[in-house]
C-alpha cells in the first residue's frame, strides 16, 4: 500500500471552550489523528484572519478554527464578533476562488472532548482526500514563469 498523505493542520482555538474541550479529550484518553496542532488564543474574537493566511502561506494544508458555542463565550461576545468576521472572510476567500473547505469552523465546548476528537479526525480525513495545499506555491512558480516568459518574449 502506498504511503498516505499526512496533512499539516493548524487549529486556532479559544482558551475557555475548545482548548478545554481538547484537554478533556486528553483526560478521557480519546484517540485522534496526530495531524492537528493547537495554537491557543484567549478567545475566537482574538483570531486575526491574517494568521489564517500566514498559516496557509507557511505550509498548512488545512485549518481548524474553533471556540465557544454562541451565548457561551467567556467574554460574552467575542465569538459573535468572530462569527461575523468568519462569514465575511469565508465569502471573500470563496470569491477569490480559494478552497474554503480547507478551513473547518466549529463550536466545541469545554464538555465536548469527543466532538473535538471527531472534528480532528473528520478534518484530517477531508484534507487527506484533498491532498497537499499547493495553490500558494503554484502561484509563486507561475509568477516567475510568467515573468521570465515575458522577459524572453520582450
Amino acid at each position: 500500500m502506498s504511503e498516505q498523505f499526512e496533512p499539516k493542520i493548524v487549529a486556532f482555538v479559544c482558551n475557555w471552550c475548545t482548548y478545554a474541550g481538547a484537554d478533556l479529550a486528553g483526560t478521557s484518553r480519546t484517540k485522534y489523528a496526530t495531524n492537528v496542532s493547537i495554537i491557543r488564543f484567549p478567545c475566537t474574537g482574538r483570531i486575526d484572519f491574517m494568521l489564517l493566511m500566514k498559516a496557509f502561506e507557511n505550509g498548512a494544508d488545512g485549518i481548524i478554527v474553533s471556540g465557544c458555542h454562541p451565548n457561551d463565550c467567556h467574554y460574552t461576545s467575542g465569538n459573535f464578533h468572530a462569527r461575523r468576521r468568519w462569514i465575511v472572510f469565508r465569502s471573500l476567500l470563496d470569491f477569490m476562488g480559494f478552497d474554503t473547505d480547507r478551513i473547518t469552523f466549529s463550536w466545541v465546548s469545554a464538555a465536548e472532548g469527543a466532538k473535538w476528537a471527531g472534528l480532528v479526525d473528520e478534518t484530517t480525513q477531508r484534507i487527506r482526500e484533498k491532498g497537499a495545499f499547493t495553490d500558494f506555491k503554484k502561484l509563486d512558480c507561475s509568477t516567475f514563469e510568467k515573468i521570465s516568459h515575458d522577459a524572453i518574449t520582450e
Binding site: Y19, R29, T34, R40, P42, D72, S77, G78, R85
Partner: protein, 666 residues
C-alpha cells in the same frame, strides 16, 4: 539574545509512554536560541522545580518552556518557579504535550514529532514574550447568593457570619427551596422542615443579609471583585413594609382553585398567597396570571379587606443595580416530569406519581396531612411499586448520568409507607443500589430487612391500567431474568434529577460554562469543584449536578469559604493579559487613528477616548486607550484593529505569528 531553557516532563509515564521524551529534549536543545534542554520524571515535583530554578540561574536563561501538562493545570506552578529564579514569570510558557499529545495519540514517531512541534512553537513564542506586571484591582466585599434553597441559605449564613454583606436573590415568594417540600430526610428520618425552618429565619433576621424574594438576576457584568448585577424585583403587588402577614387576604381571595406548586399540584392555593405556612418572608404576593383583578379587571377583594392597606395593584417590576465582589450560584434543580415516560403512563394515570409528589403525600403539612393516599380516589394503597432510575442512566432517554439521590429517597419512601401502612406491600425496582454515604447502606438494609420492602433488581418496561389496578411489568434479573408483573395501587417514579429549565439562560447571563445537560460546570472536576471557570463565581448545590443535602451543604460552605477568602484582602492581583494601545514619539503619539470602531466590540467598555494635546492645550490627536482595570483580555479589539495599533499582552501579534510560523516550519 534569547537564552531559552526547555524542560520536558515525563509525567511519570503519562507522557513518556507514548512520546520519546529524550529525543524531544535532544532535538529541542538544538533549536535556535535554546541554551539548555532536559527531560525529567516529574517537573512539577519539588526536585523538578528546583531543577528548573537551578538551570535558570546556572545557564542565565531568559525564558523557559515547560513541556508537560495543560497550562490550565500547572502554568501557575512554573511561573512561580521562574519568578523564584529571578526572571519575570511571564517568560515562562507551557507546551501541552500530555492532554493534547501523549494521552490522545499512540506511541509513534508522529506523536514524538508532534510533541517536538509544539515545543518549538512555544520556544518561538517565549522568545517574543515581554516582562509583565500583575494588575491590582479593588474588591467589593459583598457576596451575591442566587437561590434561597438550602445551598444558598448555608452559603449566605457562612459569609454573613464571617462579617461580610450578602445579597440573596430568590425567584419564588419564599426561600426554602426543595428542602422545604420534603417530608423526612435520609438517613436519619428527621423532619425536613424542623431542621430547615430555623435556618430560614436566621437568614431573614441576619443583619448582614439583604434578602430579595420574588426577584431574579437580570444581568451580570464586570469581573471578580467588581461585578455589577441588575436584579429584577418582580411586582409582588403587596407592600411588604406594610404587610403584617395576617393572612386575611388569602383567606378571602375568591380564586381558590389554582394548583398549588408547593404541593406539586395536589392541592390548591389562592391567587394572593404565601406558598407554605413557614414561608420566609411569610407575606403574600399576588400571582397576576391567576388573579381576577389582573385577568378580568374586577375583584379587588384583597385590597378592600387588607387591614394594613398593603395591597398595591399598580406596582411594576423594578430593577435594582448592585455591586458585588463574588457570586454564589445556588439555583438548584428540577425533576423530569410527565410526557417523558409514555411507557409508564406518568401524566396519564393519576396514581403514577413522582418522588416529590410522594414527599408531599408523606409530609404532615401536605395535602393529605401525612397520610399516604392515592391522588385518584383518596384510598390508602395496599401495594406500592417504586421505580428507581426512572429516566436516569438511560441513554435512550438522553440522560446517561446517575441522579444520585433516588436510591436513598426511594428506600426512605418505602420505609415511610411501611411505617404508616404496616400490612402494605412495597416493591422497589432498581438497577443498582448506590448507597455510598455515611450510614446510607445501613439505611437501605433497614428498609429491606426490618421494614420488609421487596427489592427487585431489574427495570420496568411498562405500566398500564387494568381493572382499576396499575400493572407494572418488569424483569427480575436475579431470577434468571424472569418477567415480573405486579398489580399495584400506586406507582412512584424516582424521575431523573435535571437542571432547572432556565439554567442555560442563567449560565449565559453569568458567563459560566455548563455541560450538555445544563448543569453548571466546575473549574476542575477534582481540584476546583466549587469554582467556575469565571473567577469570582462559585457553585453550590444541585445546580452543578445531582446532590443530596449533606453534600449540598458541604459545597455551599466550601464556596462560601472561597468568597470569604477573596474578601480577606482589600485588593487582588489579576493576570496582566490585557490589551494595550501602542505608543510612539510625538507628533504621532500612537499609530491609532482614532476611528473608535474597537470601542463597540469591547464587551467590558474598557476602551476609552484619549485626547493628545500639546503644551498649550491644543488638541493634536484623538486616539483610544485601554482601561487595564476593566479589560479582561479577550483580544477581540486586537483582531479588529486594521493597523495593529492595539495589541494583547501575552497573546501579542508578534507572539501569535511566531507560533504559526514555528509550528509549520520545522
Amino acid at each position: 539574545m534569547a537564552r531559552i531553557g526547555v524542560f520536558i516532563c515525563h509525567c511519570g509515564e503519562n507522557i513518556s509512554a507514548t512520546v520519546d521524551v529524550a529525543k524531544v529534549a535532544e532535538k529541542a536543545g538544538k533549536l535556535s536560541g535554546v541554551a539548555y534542554s532536559v527531560d525529567y520524571k516529574y517537573m512539577c515535583s519539588d526536585p523538578g522545580q528546583t531543577l528548573i530554578i537551578d538551570a535558570i540561574k546556572e545557564h542565565k536563561l531568559t525564558g523557559i518552556v515547560v513541556a508537560s501538562c495543560s497550562p490550565r493545570m500547572h502554568e501557575g506552578t512554573f511561573r512561580k518557579a521562574a519568578e523564584k529564579a529571578g526572571i519575570n514569570p511571564y517568560f515562562c510558557e507551557m507546551a501541552n504535550i500530555r492532554e493534547q499529545v501523549s494521552w490522545v495519540h499512540p506511541k509513534s514517531d508522529a506523536t514524538t514529532q508532534k510533541a517536538l512541534d509544539i515545543v518549538r512553537t512555544m520556544v518561538e513564542k517565549v522568545k517574543k514574550n515581554t516582562a509583565l506586571t500583575p494588575i491590582k484591582v479593588p474588591i467589593t466585599k459583598t457576596a451575591l447568593v442566587i437561590g434561597g434553597g438550602i445551598a444558598g441559605i448555608q452559603a449566605a449564613l457562612d459569609i454573613a457570619n464571617a462579617g461580610h454583606s450578602v445579597i440573596m436573590v430568590e425567584k419564588k415568594p419564599s426561600i426554602g427551596g426543595h428542602m422545604s417540600q420534603l417530608s423526612e430526610t435520609f438517613p436519619t428520618l428527621d423532619c425536613s422542615q424542623c431542621i430547615l425552618t430555623p435556618r430560614m429565619v436566621e437568614v431573614a433576621q441576619h443583619p448582614n443579609i439583604t434578602l430579595y424574594t420574588y426577584a431574579e438576576v437580570e444581568k451580570v457584568t464586570g469581573f471578580v471583585g467588581n461585578f455589577e448585577v441588575t436584579i429584577r424585583m418582580k411586582a409582588k403587588s403587596v407592600d411588604h413594609s406594610k404587610c403584617t402577614g395576617c393572612g386575611t387576604c388569602w383567606q378571602k381571595c375568591p380564586s381558590k382553585k389554582i394548583p398549588d406548586e408547593f404541593n406539586e399540584g395536589m392541592g390548591f392555593r389562592t391567587a394572593i398567597y404565601s406558598p407554605f405556612p413557614q414561608a420566609v418572608p411569610n407575606k403574600p404576593v399576588i400571582d397576576r396570571d391567576h388573579c381576577n383583578y389582573f385577568q378580568k379587571g374586577k375583584c379587588g377583594v384583597c385590597q378592600k379587606i387588607c387591614p394594613a392597606g398593603a395591597i398595591d395593584y399598580e406596582v411594576q417590576d423594578e430593577f435594582l443595580d448592585v455591586k458585588v465582589g463574588a457570586i454564589i450560584t445556588a439555583t438548584g434543580f428540577d425533576l423530569k416530569h410527565a410526557d417523558f415516560f409514555p411507557e409508564y403512563g406518568y401524566g396519564q394515570f393519576k396514581d403514577v406519581i413522582d418522588g416529590m409528589m410522594f414527599e408531599r403525600l408523606a409530609s404532615a403539612s401536605g395535602p393529605t396531612a401525612g397520610e399516604i393516599r392515592r391522588p385518584s380516589d383518596g384510598k390508602i394503597p395496599e401495594k406500592i411499586v417504586f421505580v428507581a432510575c426512572a429516566g436516569s442512566r438511560d441513554k435512550a432517554k438522553g440522560i446517561e448520568y446517575c441522579s444520585k439521590i433516588c436510591c436513598m429517597y426511594t428506600a426512605k419512601h418505602a420505609m415511610l409507607y411501611k411505617h404508616k401502612k404496616h400490612d402494605g406491600d412495597a416493591y422497589v425496582f432498581y438497577m443498582d443500589i448506590r448507597a455510598a454515604g455515611k450510614d446510607y447502606d445501613e439505611f437501605v438494609r433497614r428498609a429491606i430487612e426490618e421494614d420488609d420492602v421487596h427489592y427487585i433488581r431489574g427495570r420496568v418496561s411498562r405500566i398500564y391500567e387494568k381493572n382499576g389496578k396499575l400493572i407494572v411489568k418488569g424483569v427480575d434479573t436475579l431470577m434468571n431474568g424472569d418477567p415480573v408483573e405486579i398489580e399495584a395501587d400506586m406507582v412512584v417514579l424516582a424521575t431523573a434529577v435535571i437542571a432547572n429549565q432556565d439554567a442555560e439562560t442563567v449560565a449565559q447571563r453569568m458567563h459560566i460554562s455548563y455541560n450538555k445537560h445544563h448543569f453548571f460546570a466546575e473549574a476542575h472536576p477534582k481540584l476546583r469543584p466549587v469554582e467556575t471557570n469565571t473567577a469570582g463565581i462559585m457553585l453550590a448545590g444541585a445546580c452543578q449536578g445531582a446532590k443530596d443535602i449533606p453534600e449540598t451543604v458541604s459545597q455551599a460552605s466550601a464556596s462560601a469559604s472561597k468568597a470569604i477568602g477573596l474578601f480577606s484582602s482589600n485588593e487582588m492581583t489579576r493576570e496582566p493579559i490585557v490589551a494595550v494601545v501602542n505608543r510612539q514619539a510625538p507628533p504621532n503619539f500612537t499609530s491609532c487613528t482614532g476611528c473608535m470602531l474597537c470601542m463597540e466590540v469591547c464587551p467590558y467598555h474598557a476602551i476609552e477616548r484619549e485626547e493628545m494635546k500639546d503644551r498649550t492645550g491644543n488638541l493634536i490627536k484623538v486616539a483610544v486607550k485601554v482601561n487595564a482595570g476593566l479589560c479582561q483580555g479577550c483580544g477581540t479589539c486586537v483582531a479588529m484593529c486594521r493597523n495593529k495599533s492595539i495589541d494583547l499582552q501575552g497573546f501579542s501579534n508578534d507572539q501569535m505569528l511566531s507560533e504559526v510560523m514555528a509550528l509549520l516550519n520545522s
